[in-house]
Amino acid sequence: MENRKSEYMNSYLAGIFLGLVLLATIFITGRGLGASGAVKSVVVTAVSAVAPTHADNAAFYSQYNAAHPQPLKSWLFFEVIGVLLGGFVSGLISNRLKFKVVRGPRITSKTRLLMAVIGGFLFGLGAQFGRGCTSGAALSGMAVLSAGGIMTMLAIFGSGYALAYFFRKLWI
């Protein structure tokens, strides 16, 4: 038996499937996919629960709470729960479920985790300025041809490439 070259799906086929999921989302709901918005729901919910007075006084939380009476009952939060389940089932089928730290060959797991937190921090922060992340701004923005979404996309990849040289030790 010949071994399959790649354990992952053909990338063009996966892209078409992903595009169809996005298209279905637009057709059914009139909006695109997202991810960082769910993190925002969680943060606002947590802050409102821990420090309600602060949440009432700070503009960011109070505006968000006014627009979303129940942040965790939001579309994006449910969608991200779905992503979690979908990813899990896919990993189960393809036998990839395993607790591990994926890292470049020249760094320790500890460095990798620290960098992941820092990277996540930057992404979380940037997604607020960009009004969405790779999913909500770049991918969905591209589907509906939003100028802002496409500019954010170019900026994400442009900045990634510009900085790649300086962080090469992390990956290669």
Binding site: K5, G87, V102
Partner: protein, 398 residues
């Protein structure tokens, strides 16, 4: 037809839909290999461009899909959420996210997916995003200036560049294909491989080619709504107008007085003329705004005949043809003799019998009564609020 939310799918069911679509999203991301941060980072070092391929294929697929659905009138673009453009904030955010990508190896969506299959670095990344959002929230008073500056509206990229949607979509597909070819060459060079492995992918190329071809046919052909408007504004509309029936002024008056609910009146004159005087219960929809999506529900009401009237018959006929082309109720009628005839013979019916030799006693009595009855109807109709026009609110964004 689309989007289905909130008219066809309610808000509660929408959350179930969110869960299902999210499932599909997560499943495909994981299958594509987006759960591996090394694969994601490979994009920036040339050893693995899978992210670029999946990402652009998905974007182009969805873009062409949106164009096809819009073309057939199945999707109403004016109801789709288009991310607003705040120039500086969008660029700044993108630059920060790019740094986050190269340092953290994920973006939020892929990190959720990778965390689901047990990648601890993904969990750390997610934790980081929580801190990042929190930092923005706490620093909001500092950031709000740049966050809200240089607002350009819900701008389309092709409008920003001053080209048509079709041309931009064409360029986008061309760019994606060029990128696919270039990255494969780079990838093979970096990894020291020779063959591209393309031969086994022929089926996929055939499929993609078909989709792209279909997309282009649609892109360069006007959509459903534009075609209907072009037809009704062009020279051939009269052929179809021949099949449209005319309702006499007396029949209309009779059915209005009977409070007949199987007809609805559409006044296609200008809003000024409509406000000055109209036939009771008529709704004002001039020719130019008939194609607007907010009128479809009203004009497609089941079991109801639409009766169009204007000054004279020609504008009413033209509008009825347009309405039928837009898929509204097929039983469109127009008022015989137009508004003036109704106004002169019914609304402002003169008691002087002498000037009217051409009709019977019966009609004389009817019209006299109709004049008063229609005044009562008008008073009633004015108490009822405007029946239609409910622009749907668009929700979206992260």
């Amino acid at each position: 037809m689309g989007p289905l939310v909130p008219e066809i799918i309610g808000n509660e069911l929408n959350l179930v839909v969110a869960l299902l679509l999210g499932f599909g999203f997560g499943f495909v991301l994981e299958q594509a290999g987006f759960s591996s941060s090394r694969k994601l980072a490979g994009l920036f070092y040339g050893y693995d461009f899978v992210v670029l391929r999946v990402f652009f294929t998905a974007g182009v697929t969805a873009m062409i899909g949106v164009i096809i659905l819009t073309h057939f009138g199945w999707l109403d673009l004016s109801l789709i959420y288009v991310n607003p453009t705040f120039l500086k904030s969008a660029l700044l955010g993108g630059v920060i996210m790019g740094a986050g990508f190269i340092i953290g190896g994920f973006c939020p969506g892929t990190s959720v997916c990778a965390a689901a299959i047990g990648r601890i670095d993904a969990m750390a990344f997610l934790l980081g995003t929580v801190f990042g959002v929190f930092a923005f929230a706490e620093g909001y008073p500092l950031f709000v200036g740049i966050y809200k500056s240089s607002f350009l509206g819900n701008l389309y990229v092709f409008d920003a560049l001053g080209v048509s949607r079709g041309l931009f979509a064409f360029l986008m597909v061309a760019m994606a294909i060029a990128a696919f070819v270039a990255t494969t060459i780079i990838e093979n060079r970096v990894n020291g491989r020779k063959s591209s492995g393309y031969t086994e992918n022929r089926r996929y190329f055939a499929l993609a080619g078909l989709g792209i071809f279909l997309g282009f046919v649609m892109i360069f052909m006007p959509d459903h709504r534009s075609r209907a408007i072009a037809f009704a504004s062009g020279a051939d509309w009269q052929v179809e107008a021949e099949s449209i029936n005319r309702m006499t002024i007396d029949e209309l008056a009779f059915r209005l007085i009977k409070r007949d609910r199987t007809i609805q009146l559409i006044d296609v004159r200008s809003p000024d003329k409509y406000t000055a005087l109209n036939i009771p219960t008529a709704v004002n929809i001039p020719f130019d705004s008939l194609a607007n999506p907010e009128w479809r529900d009203f004009l497609q009401k089941k079991g109801v005949d639409n009766i169009f009237y204007a000054d004279g018959e020609e504008t009413a006929l033209r509008t009825a043809v347009l309405s039928m082309h837009l898929g509204d109720n097929t039983a469109a009628l127009i008022l015989k003799g137009g508004f003036e005839s109704f106004q002169e013979n019914i609304l402002a019916f003169s008691d002087e019998k002498s000037s009217r030799e051409d009709f019977t006693e019966e009609i004389y009595e009817f019209r006299k009564r109709a004049r008063t009855e229609l005044d009562i109807l008008r008073a009633e109709a004015e108490r009822v609020p405007e029946p239609v026009k409910k622009p749907r609110t668009i929700q979206g964004g992260c």
